[in-house]
Symmetry: none
Subunit: 225 residues, 4 copies
DNA sequence: TATGAATGAGTCTTCATTCAT
DNA sequence: AATGAATGAAGACTCATTCAT
């Protein structure tokens, strides 16, 4: 499962055999473009990104971008899919089902927190998508195909917790997920304005640890019977 | 602050479509441009916004935008200041000091929640600013001048609560504010992607009420002694 | 009335007062662009024409083309309208109604012949339009608004001729117009291939006079009772 | 001439869609490309035609076009030669010499009329060539090699007719051919603009028959002693 | 105070064509 | 005989901005 606020598990495709590394190496070329496109789109947004700027970063010419992706928009969609898809790679490692409910929630929250903290690119592209009203997410079948097991996992934990009497009954997994995600996401997405207005350096390690603990405790208190 | 009061002074025209600028009414022309600029920047972002698009909405020509604002960037900054100013100017009317701590927190959280819910424009412009690393917020003296009484108010409530034994001691107002803000903001800023991925209509009234109650309860539980 | 095969009378708009001849002279600039656009489109066709090529010919930059015409396509449409419209300027000078039927036909045919001979640009743009299936003519309200009095004039001559017994009855003005136009047009439009294949210089003055006489005689013989 | 016979040799596939090229069948691949090139050039003109568009229609990649034809221009020339060759190859089968002069003219005119009516592709490519000032026709030795027996046939008929006293003496075969061709060609080449301006559907069967009769009668009257 | 006209510098995209096997 | 990968050059078009009154 993925702990991303909006994404979840899908088995990682068995590694494609690496292509021969000759001069003409379409997969490498394509991948190369995509990597630089991520940087550009994440930094500049969709409207702000410049195809020329991406081209300048890669050895192959700008023409290749159109050869492989057809348009700036399509390239953006693939960047979106890649960043959403990357999230899948850290899945199924939490073994939440094996932990007691409280421990499971703690691990889940901490994982979500760390995940957003480490994937600023993802947080930024999601913000960008929301500025565009999620138009491209809605259009992407690939993203739709990434099924979200997070809600199932969370739901299962809540059920067990209620059964054991440590959590309240009647809690909605989606609501709890929203509570967790909002904090983990916002802390990254809005660090610039929040940091500036309130003069706080959110990425600072000790502050970060304090906030990590805060969201854990906050969620657990909310769930408690 | 001057900015805030200046802009707040201009009464919000109720349901009246912004008037086209007329001859010899510089105030009105300027205000008119700003209004349409808000729409454009909020919808399209900074890079996506088009000076032409703003000009098309107003009667006066595009030339006027430069006459009054000098550049697209400056216009954006004024949009930013206006939206920030609108928000801050209503924060002082809650009379939180007169309420018992728990009630005060509840009112503060509900106010924050409703405020974000009602001011989608503000939420969007803040997201946009973060995409730009808060570059323009940092640059704006006007925004810096808007002192945030919210932290003082919140700090005071927490102090009273701790004194009365209803809240834990040692809580940081900034952290609590982050906890509240993140939920209220994210729920609006990410409604498009979150809604699409999890197939939920966050603005729906009954869902909204449920979430409003959730964040209140969540915060209060977190604060409880 | 116009003798063009496909066009006809509409009163010439009373000359617009000439604009002041300052540096900024929009009408002149616009007209200037249009003139050079005619050259380019007529020589290269719609697809073959280059906006850059037009820009190079005029003093104002390429940017002006878009300022005044919005797009290459729109510029083409205006070229089309201009060339169709220019034809109107030679109208109503034939006084066909005052001539005996045979003389009237002769004058009409000769005028049509000369008209096409002199207006190669028009002939070419019409050929180009047909390659594009008259798509732009169909789209142009201006061209549609140019009502064709030619058919009325021709019909009137045929009626008089039939009445006087010099022409057959039952002739259709449109058919006769097609007969006349086809020769006058083709002689110009196809001079390159026809001339090359049959090794004849159609624009040659003596050949031209011979053909002018031929189409006159041919039409008159066709009409004769 | 060689071109003509070679191409004529390939039987016209009746209603069978052109086959995709297969491995190891160069003749077929080449022919296939040419067929699709005809469609593209005839529809779009020389400048408007896209090598990519042709490639999309055939199974073999765009690379094959260059493999077999070297350049877009050369491909166009071969399209030109093929369409010219198709036309000329059917002109010799009328056995005009065996008919009385009037009958021979009638058959010739009707044949010319039907021929243009049926070969819109040819009419279009000739129009396109004229837009390009017959540059490629002039360059093509193959087209030059297609000797025009039409003038000889026509000349012979005119001579016989004059001898028999049914036709005037002193008529030039080339002029008469121009008279016939212009009508038959224009009716097809300009059907779009003429049809639009005068609101007539030239391809309509009954109108077509009327015009077929008209050009016959018109020519015969012109020739009559 | 106000504005119509003009524009240099990009910006995305497409074109016919060649490289390298 | 065949082809997947690559591309320089140009294509149409747009952008925020300034000129000149």
């Amino acid at each position: 499962m993925t702990m991303t606020s909006e994404l979840s598990a899908a088995p990682v495709l068995p590694a494609v055999e690496p292509r021969k590394s000759r001069k003409n190496n379409p997969e490498k070329t394509r991948e190369n473009i995509l990597q630089e496109a991520i940087v550009e789109f994440v930094q500049q947004g969709l409207s702000g990104a410049r195809v020329d700027a991406i081209a300048e970063r890669i050895h192959t010419s700008k023409r290749m971008i159109y050869y492989y992706f057809g348009s700036k928009e399509q390239l953006y969609v693939e960047v979106l899919e890649k960043l959403y898809g990357d999230i899948r790679s850290t899945e199924n490692r939490l073994h939440l089902a094996e932990l007691p409910p409280v421990e499971a929630i703690r691990r889940l929250v901490e994982f979500t927190f760390d995940h957003h903290d480490r994937n600023v690119d993802f947080v930024r592209i999601v913000s960008i998508e929301n500025i565009h009203n999620a138009e491209y997410v809605k259009r992407s079948d690939a993203i739709k195909a990434m099924n979200n097991t997070i809600l199932d996992s969370l739901g299962e934990i809540l059920r067990r917790g209620a059964e054991e009497g440590v959590f309240r009954a009647g809690l909605d997994a989606l609501d709890v997920h929203l509570l967790i995600s909002s904090f983990c996401f916002y802390r990254v997405s809005n660090r610039h304005t929040f940091g500036e207005i309130f003069q706080i350096d959110l990425p600072d390690e000790s502050i970060k640890q304090r906030h990590r603990e805060m969201i854990c405790e906050s969620v657990l208190r909310y769930l408690q019977a």
